[in-house]
Amino acid sequence: MAETDTVFLYDGSLAGFYSCVHTAIYEHVMPIAIQKDGSAQSLMFFRNNIITDNERALRVRNAIKTKLSIRTLELIENVFLASLESRELLLLRFILQCFEKGVSFTYQLTDALVAKLIKAEKHLKNEAHLMIGFIRFVDHSQTLVSFISPKNYILPLISEHFSDRYSEESFLICDKTNQVVLVHHQHHSQIVPLSVPLSLTLSEDELHFQTLWRRFYQTISIKERENHLCRKTHMPNRYWDNMLELKDEM
């Protein structure tokens, strides 16, 4: 498909993205860019507002799942959550190449496009894995509350872990970057927009446990082995803001 001078505008959702894919394939249009509605646009190009159609989106999804593979679908949906620039367009190109060359294209690790997608997926998975350890909760009136500032949209990836770990508790994980919050209450989780800014006053009990943890953190280090570079490599500075024991070290 030749690249036309059309820009696809969509609502930012996964279903919206699949609707763009559907349009590209069935109307034989290769857009020059796929952008979220509301972002800055050049007047040079034609704009095509893609309407999110759940039925068409599902058809595209099933086609990928059955005609390609589950791994291909996983890669696509993971990269969609990642913070890769122009990821929608790259994913569209990837999907088209997969249909053209066959499912083995997904494993062509030496291809520049596939390598780029896998790198973004790795970045996403790494951040989610680190975040699972670095999240700190505060007990606020029997609800556990925490704040995170990730680079990628990791809430869907960490939701299962925490819903399982704290299945009988109520908790909130507030994503400051993406302005959404994961709410878990009475064995049920969902991700909703974060509308109200939360400010917390800590109870005495909470302050005592925080002091205990800080004390433990400072004590456990062996002075003769101090290695700040090693610590920074494993725990990048950008996570420290939301971790109480490291606020003193900053």
Binding site: L109, H161, H208, F209, I220, R225, C230
Partner: protein, 449 residues
């Protein structure tokens, strides 16, 4: 007011008992997958690092002693009973269980790592530890990770009970030879350590048989067994140490052996002086050798021999082996089996897997290998690939220089001076500038390969 006093005590207790426990290197929360559901918590097989301390080590568990009172007098231990300079205290089982739960709820930890000094007797100590674990598992319905140390000399029924409560058990081998153990820790006899270790291994084996019949059987130490030894306090060679590790892995099916560089804290005629530096580079080489044995299918005898009983500080054990076995190279990346790929410097388990997957679709070139994350700077002398049948030819000097471990630079000349000189390792003084030391080493190494 009452809470103030209670928490003050708890703060001091935690400081003292965490300070006493920090030399125990084992701190992973790995080895078992357990879903949550009823109660609080779950575990993840890969383990989760919640933080990293100022010394760069992962913090995953609440690592404490039940008590730092001790009736033993081991020379290397800060808690030895003849040491009057430290404050002694103990947690109550209820205090410790509550602390663990509150830390766990806030996602500070994956669980508890519980060791102890010997309070009156091994069995008495075990009883207190068991009571804490019972509170956690039964009263608090805690499903998180528990690593419990077994006290040397504990009886069989104590071991049986604690194994059903903990995920991982460990008993420290402490020192790499029976002679050293007798000299520095006379009350910790070889039997008192190996008997429980053997019992744990047998119980784990029996448990896996039970589970194959009825998979809802209670689990005994599902994350297996580990141990630890102190490096640099006693004169054993590296070869003795890794041969011991190999025997421990084979005979007792341990998951991990941990090596802890001796940090002098007390002046003692049997131990290195209190000014001596902890042998961190040597500890690093031991972990590299340990990884080679577990993940790369090397045997201890392949890594070190009678003629070379100690590690080369400048080159990691794998590169050292490769340089001594140049006749096994070049290896064709497009056809070699995965075990052979693992022998190439610059190719690790992840890289080898990627090669195997990628080569199903196309023949791999040098650029392809680079994009897979293979370290070409090292691997190029040992491989052949699409378009090239002979490896990159270079002088011995050049090859050695490419394989020198950059960590030898960062650890510094002081660490290098701790290694024994031999034909390929010149003697290094602490004051030698690092560049001179490296040049001298390259010259010696190039001659010996």
């Amino acid at each position: 007011m009452f809470f103030e006093v209670m928490y003050m005590d708890l703060q001091d207790k935690l400081t003292i008992l965490a300070d006493s426990a920090k030399y125990d290197a084992a701190c992973t929360s790995s080895g078992v997958d357990r879903k949550g559901g009823k109660g609080l918590g779950n575990t993840t097989a890969a383990g989760i690092c919640h933080s990293f301390s100022a010394d760069g080590r992962c913090i995953s568990l609440l690592k404490v002693l039940m008590s730092n009172h001790c009736t033993y007098d081991c020379h290397y231990c800060i808690n030895r009973c003849s040491n009057d300079t430290i404050r002694r205290t103990a947690f109550t089982p209820k205090e410790l269980a509550e602390l663990t739960i509150q830390f766990y709820r806030r996602n500070y930890i994956e669980g508890l790592f519980l060791s102890s000094g010997v309070l009156k007797s091994p069995n008495n100590t075990m009883e207190l530890m068991i009571r804490t674990l019972e509170l956690l598992r039964n009263n608090y319905q805690f499903n998180g990770y528990i690593h419990a140390k077994t006290i040397p000399g504990a009886s069989a029924d104590m071991v049986e009970r604690i194994g059903l409560l903990a995920d991982r058990l460990s008993i420290n081998i402490e020192l790499p030879s029976e002679d050293s153990l007798r000299k520095l820790a006379p009350k910790k006899t070889k039997t008192s350590i190996l008997k429980p270790m053997n019992l744990i291994a047998k119980s784990i084996h029996n448990n896996s048989q039970e589970l194959s019949i009825y998979n809802q059987s209670p689990r005994f130490a599902p994350a297996g067994q580990s141990t630890q030894m102190i490096i640099g306090a006693t004169p054993e060679t590296d070869r003795q140490i890794i041969r011991l590790s190999e025997r421990l892995y084979r005979h007792y099916h341990l998951r991990r052996v941990f090596y802890s560089a001796y940090i002098p804290s007390i002046e003692d005629s049997f131990l290195p002086s209190i000014d001596s530096k902890p042998p961190l580079l040597r500890e690093h080489r031991l972990y590299q050798a340990d990884w080679l044995m577990r993940k790369y299918h090397f045997s201890a005898d392949e890594i070190l021999s009678e003629t070379m009983p100690n590690f080369n500080p400048y080159i990691d054990p794998k590169c050292h082996w490769a340089l001594n076995h140049m006749d096994t190279f070049p290896i064709d990346v497009n056809s070699a089996p995965i075990e052979t790929l693992l022998r190439v410097p610059g190719i690790g388990p992840v890289g080898a897997q990627k090669i195997v997957i990628a080569r199903r679709n196309c023949r791999l070139t040098l650029e392809a290998l680079r994009s897979l994350g293979i370290i070409i700077k090292r691997a190029q002398f040992f491989i052949s690939y699409s378009g090239v049948t002979k490896p990159y030819h270079a002088s011995r000097d050049y090859i050695v220089r490419s394989l020198i471990d950059p960590k030898a630079y960062t650890f510094g000349t002081e660490q290098l001076s701790l290694f024994t000189p031999n034909q390929s390792i010149p003697e290094i003084k602490k004051t030698t500038p690092i560049e001179h030391a490296i040049e001298e080493a390259v010259r010696c190494l190039a001659l010996s390969f």
